[in-house]
Symmetry: none
Subunit: 124 residues, 4 copies
DNA sequence: GTGGTCTAGACCACC
DNA sequence: GTGGTCTAGACCACA
């Protein structure tokens, strides 16, 4: 996984985990990788992974069982979708429209690109 | 002007100036507000405005005449548009599509919103 | 390190670091001193060192790993040499020749001095 | 005349006047252009030219006759040459050698360039 | 008046 | 520990 430099790594990791949950790759009540394991996989400091998990736990997306690790919360999908939908409509969409407006891009121009994008997505 | 806390203030100022240039509110070769003046207007430290200007100068959007102030560069609009277009297509658009995909939103659903957005924009 | 007053301190620091990289005292991918550390060594404000590093980063001579420090870029030597060679041929050399011409100095007169200079340079 | 941005304009003007004196284009006791006249010619602020003249007067390269203007001092050539020679040997030459050393350039490589440079100089 | 540099000190996020 | 941002205030050079 590659990280961009504009956003904190721990947030990018958390985001990626949310993606996987939303896509059903991580099911509710399923155990998520251990902090150490994921740290090795992603080649980052364990502290950084820990922060991601704490962040997700605080949003009740995952929860911890002592000595057993972190697990996907029962309503994780619903919670993530709700948060992201809110975020999308309130912040991302207006910013996106503004950019399009300043660049003189029409919504119709994006149709072809969106189709192409969707075809590249793996089935799940 | 209000600043959000996720992005550095000096970048938000720079971005806002780019907006104004792109909208034609600041014409090429026109003088931009002096560092001190803008600092008072925005209620920030002059150093912070200075950083914005240095950042824009480095992108050749504005240039400086000694003892006279900063001025909008001749190709400022072209440069800004090129940079933003690149950024939009390479980064913002894919991220946006991904969000839509994960939220199950179709492009057509956005049409109405986009029209409404556009009508709110001031003429220039 | 002593600073002359005609050039900004942060540029002199940047220049000095380039010297050290070009001489191989700082190898590619090696960590450069932390901002605070170098500030103490040089007896300047951390902000001033920071500016040097930002300046070098922008030229892709060094790069930053978050929370870990600044590191010499992989092509640092090549980049520095290219920039300096350009600067030398386009600006320094003509200015130098002009001075010699106006002072009536011949190139041959400098030979002895150059030899003497070179012998004083430390090996590396 | 074009000004580079690294050195103060008034110093570049003063330097240029010294060049002309050294080349004999301005003879001892000859009147130098009036502040206003030179300001128009160079398209700079009269204050800037004034500063150049004050700077040169302080070095006894030119002197002023009230109501008549500035004139080249009797020993101007000698003074300029002495100052420049000193400056050249103490500062420019070591810096120049250092640059050559770091760039791996030999003195002999410059011979051809120097000849070419000299042939382009106008006779005087 | 203008930009530009520097210091001192604070606070934050990240690893 | 690391970089990064911001404020406050000073001083200088330049036009």
């Amino acid at each position: 996984m590659e990280f961009n430099s504009t956003q904190a790594i721990y947030l990018q990791i958390a985001d990626h985990l949310c993606d996987r949950i939303q896509l059903g790759q991580l099911a509710p009540e399923e155990k998520v990788p251990s902090v150490r394991e994921l740290a090795v996989t992603l080649e980052v400091n364990p502290n950084t992974v820990m922060r991601s998990y704490e962040h997700l736990q605080q949003q009740e997306v995952i929860y911890t069982k002592r000595g057993m690790g972190y697990f996907v919360g029962p309503d994780a999908v619903k919670k993530i979708t709700a948060m992201r939908r809110e975020q999308f409509l309130q912040e991302e969409l207006p910013a996106f429209f503004r950019r399009m407006y300043l660049l003189g891009i029409e919504l119709d121009e994006l149709k072809g690109r969106f189709e192409k994008f969707r075809q590249k997505q793996p089935k799940h």
